[in-house]
Symmetry: D2
């Protein structure tokens, strides 16, 4: 029986502090603020340690939503899952994607197949020395299973995107662990982002049975043959626990949206992007009658593409040397987002797509998951 | 009668000073050093004013080729046209493309259609105050016509790519003009690169009849509706004149290569990239049997894609805001190369493509020319 | 008669959104929120067009101060002058400086000499095409005179620092002017920051009689021999008018602080920094008994140094070539802040100093004003 | 008996490939090319992994010197020690310092005291897995002692600067170690530069008795209380062994130069810079009659300042938070060079000073050695 309705709204922003689009949709009653479960955003910072556009965007949204929800800004931040991915390099366009969920009193008729469903859960707070290690993996796996249950999804095959927000290490956090006699996995804040993303992704892989349950400390950022095909993890300075959002399709959902995914094997895997679009009945842009356009199902519309990008750690893409990892001027995550964003935007026909950097253990080394949400007619 | 043979060799480099690939092909007699007419390279600097990888690569090539040609390094630099485009952002892979031309004593039989031809010319030295203004436009137009004649091309429709190397302004050059009572078009070295590229591109457009012959000072970087569909211009600190290389197809060529082009209307114009590939009988990667792959002509192979990229000056790509022009951390040319490079690499199946930044008056605003060279069976 | 009391509080911040230091001082009654006139801050963004740490800091402060003042955040932003200078390169340390002013009912006894005074004023909103031109100069000059009157200063020699917050151009603003048939001074957002800072500084120079009253459009960013010795201007995206804050010494002030200044003739002018410290009875750090330390007046303490830095436009510092203007990876304003910040921090003994970038017409070309505030015993 | 004569020439460069200054001095016989022992340079790249200005400068110098020495460029590179430190942030000015050494047939009369002496040595090639570990420490210590002997220095107190050029790890080198079953100290090229610099500096400290001889793998980049007061190490991609250059004063030298040093305890330690200047009889600029100027010995002139800079690893400078380590846009080495360069240039009166980044175990954490070479009257 279809008991929940899940909505998805993609809203362009004019800056990290711009909440006018969302407020407009609330004012026009297109969105009931009480139904907002999660907000994924692309903000225009550097995506690195000192990217304050993420926390600024969250602060602006919490302040704006607080009176609508009768809560303080701090309470809003606890209630809604905010995942801001910094970095809109190249053609990527800043925007937020708002996910809503409501219980249905009367199950609608005439809906067939599984529809978009969303579930959430979170881990306990981690100690600094647990980041990037097996404790973070195991706790994340537990949370993924809890989020699947929350989404009404029982089959791992119905999970198409697992977004995780995870912590990073700062000088203070490393110091704190050290003062208790514990050594953090790295003393570099920037490196810690990779460790935290990697361990969180392995947690997804464990939960979904993509890898064995005994992933170890030394697998993180080393065993790149271990990965999840649907994990997307972003680290941020503002929390010490993992927030897990599961997106999939469920019989229990009466949503007018559907989600599917594919896996990019490398950063130039156009075929995977086309496959992901095709998995929800969409054709790639620009291919015309000769291309996959013909396969697109009538009336379906693209809502968003959710993807992860990274510089392949072996220094090459399909046999050609890349220079992303040796560049001291631009971090490799910015390079990778720009390039993969260019490809996806070209095939999707829009730069307002969610391409996030740092795909450690998210898809194969140098590749990453790519999910597509379509609106059905 | 086919009187010339034009060769094209794409060679990966391990660094800006790496000449081993070219030296190997000379040692194995695959390339006769005396036949080298031009070398286009992608080097791994920032592509900006202080990108020394370009001059380093030229210096290394000249030093290595000198003994092979019985010339001094300085004489090599005068004899061969070196165009180094800095910036291998994202998946772009450093490489050089060597163009050779030889006179044929015996015209080969069995060749049909027009084949790849190359011609060169250069302008006089410019005064600093002429850069980015009508003098540069008019002199460039003259040189383009001379280069077409050198290539044996009479019909402008057979011209598919015009690569120009043009000067930029430095503090010293601005000062020198000022000392004679003349004001340079800008005092910023970085801005001067755009002015010089723009005026040079308008020179191509004038020569090919794409715009009226009376392009004016005030059109440069203002009238973006005036552009060439085949111009590609790169500015560098090492010269004060324009070097013009015309690539097209000619009945006089017995080359085993063919060139075609299309125009990207914006930075995510996948259709144009596919059209350019298709123009020389190639299919896009990853589209499989359902896509254009079916249209690919048997036995043809991709040699290189030559394209220009830029951040659209109106701040949007297909209606979505981009952030390239407001980014103080990464120059917009780097953003644009990364994004367009990602799209082209995805469709071409390789990151070893020549995507150059700064497409002022080269294609429509925010877009740019995209040419493809294929080897015929 | 001493009728006002001016306070200065320098507060370290842990991030652009950190208001805890100020809130603590309000909670402990060290600061009466109603007395806050202006807040100058150094935030840790890039100081360029896309530096959102400035507006984030202002938003956080307004939100935090609103309940203390019984105002909305928007009203707080109108009431208090916030000047956030982005960029804490090198040893510079993020902090805010809070200026308070209160009327005194009973003039205190025993105060001799002129003491720190502060006054404010603002211009009308500018049209985009007025930025960087004579209209901005003239309106700014009027506002400086109004701010001097507000500060109780009649003699221009008593003005030691004039901080101005001024607008910049965005693509939209240039477009808007263009749609009305007007051409903005530049189409580059980044360049417009320099034009706006330059014209504003010339406005100060006009007001204080440092240059003739008829400064012209073409003087801006060209006639670097025209400058103010006390102007400090910062451009930001969030406003379209100039906000002027005059800092000087006045007989009408009963403040326990004093301000003085000197002018750095170039970016390595250690003597000027020492002179500025000395002007308020302070010695430079590290010089010990052999140096100026001997001249320091007993009991005086450094509060803050306020300075402007820029890359000298002729490409040299005291005869040696610098590379700040040719660097495509790091903007010259960041280079200059880092270097001048290093020198001032070394002599002041702390990195928590206000060094702001972009000193066009603020001090001689390549130099800039340096003011020091000391607390008297 | 004074048997050697050591010369020092500081030469400004107009770009990394500019050799004209040195060639001019050779042409005018001011420098005998056969006497050149070492060339230290500041080149204008980013100082990071992909800074090709260093190898470009070396290539240009070798090519230019080859005919003067009757050697191939490769042989020149073996004969002369080239140490190029990338990064001329802020006011730092690109230049090279040429050290010459000649045997004297007739010991000159009238020279008193120890004078500038220089010695060199090198280690064996390292395996990738040895970098940043005890093997690199021990081998370096041996080479330092050999270089001291070469310089005619027996007392460690006479050693004032030990410049080391050391390797870094690339993806290929890590891979190569891995293929033999060995794990490199880090997989990040950028991080490996710090490890290699740190281990090399500890090698100096061991050789000079500044730390115990049993420095361990785990001390590197961890035990920052272990350091050398005179070590300066720079890593580069072009070699796999360490090159050691010892600079000190010796009775055996008849040089007209003298060297001294001090240690900066943090990045704003003006007193240490003044102490270093004073140690060779020079006064700091700008202090005038009131300052150390009075102590300067008549006729002495500054030749160069040689210093190391780094962002203090605890995130603060003298109690104030800095943001260098959290900046994803600009590497901390660039920040540190800019700031320390600004301070030293201010006190030395010139930006043409050798300030090199990455001071791991070179001076206390956050500080670094500062040496000064003066020409005697």
């Amino acid at each position: 029986m279809r008991t929940t309705s899940v909505g998805v709204f993609k809203i362009a922003t004019r800056g990290p502090g711009d909440v006018s689009g969302l407020m407009g949709l609330i004012a026009s009653r297109a969105i009931d603020p009480a139904s907002i479960l999660a907000i994924l955003g692309k903000t225009e910072g550097n995506g690195g340690v000192n990217d304050f556009t993420r926390e600024y965007a969250v602060a602006a949204l919490c302040t704006a939503l607080a009176p609508k929800l009768g809560l303080t800004p701090e309470e809003v931040e606890q209630r809604i899952a905010f995942v801001m991915s910094g970095g809109t390099e190249g053609v990527l366009s800043p925007h937020i994607t708002v996910f809503t969920r409501q219980q249905l009193e009367t199950p609608p008729a005439g809906i067939s197949g599984k529809r978009l469903s969303i579930g959430m859960a979170q881990t306990r707070d981690f100690l600094p020395e647990e980041l990037g290690r097996s404790a973070q993996i195991a706790e994340t796996a537990k949370a993924v299973k809890a989020a699947m249950a929350d989404a009404g999804i029982t089959d791992a095959a119905d999970v198409h995107f697992v977004q995780i927000k995870c912590p990073l290490l700062t000088s203070e956090r490393v110091e704190e662990a050290s003062s208790r006699g514990h050594k953090a996995v790295t003393i570099s804040a920037y490196s810690s982002m990779a460790y935290s993303r990697g361990a969180s992704a392995l947690g997804v892989a464990v939960a979904l049975g993509e890898v064995a349950a005994d992933a170890k400390d030394e697998d993180v950022l080393r065993r790149y043959d271990l990965f999840s095909k649907v994990a997307s993890t972003s680290s941020g300075i503002e929390l010490m626990h993992n927030v897990v959002i599961v997106l999939g399709n469920s019989e229990s959902s009466a949503s007018e949206f559907e989600i599917g995914h594919a896996v990019m094997n490398d950063a130039i895997d156009a075929a995977a992007v086309i496959e992901a679009l095709s998995s929800v009945g969409l054709g790639a842009q620009g291919l015309g009658a000769q291309g996959l356009g013909a396969q697109a199902k009538a009336g379906r519309a693209l809502v968003n593409v959710l993807a992860k990008a990274e510089a392949s750690p072996d220094g090459t893409v399909r046999g050609c040397r890349h220079t992303m990892l040796e560049d001291t001027d631009i971090s490799s995550t910015r390079h990778a987002r720009a390039a993969v964003g260019g490809l996806i935007a070209g095939l999707a026909g829009t730069g307002a797509v969610y391409v996030s950097g740092g795909a450690e253990h998210q898809g194969p080394a140098g590749g990453g998951p790519v999910a597509v949400i379509a609106r059905l007619p």
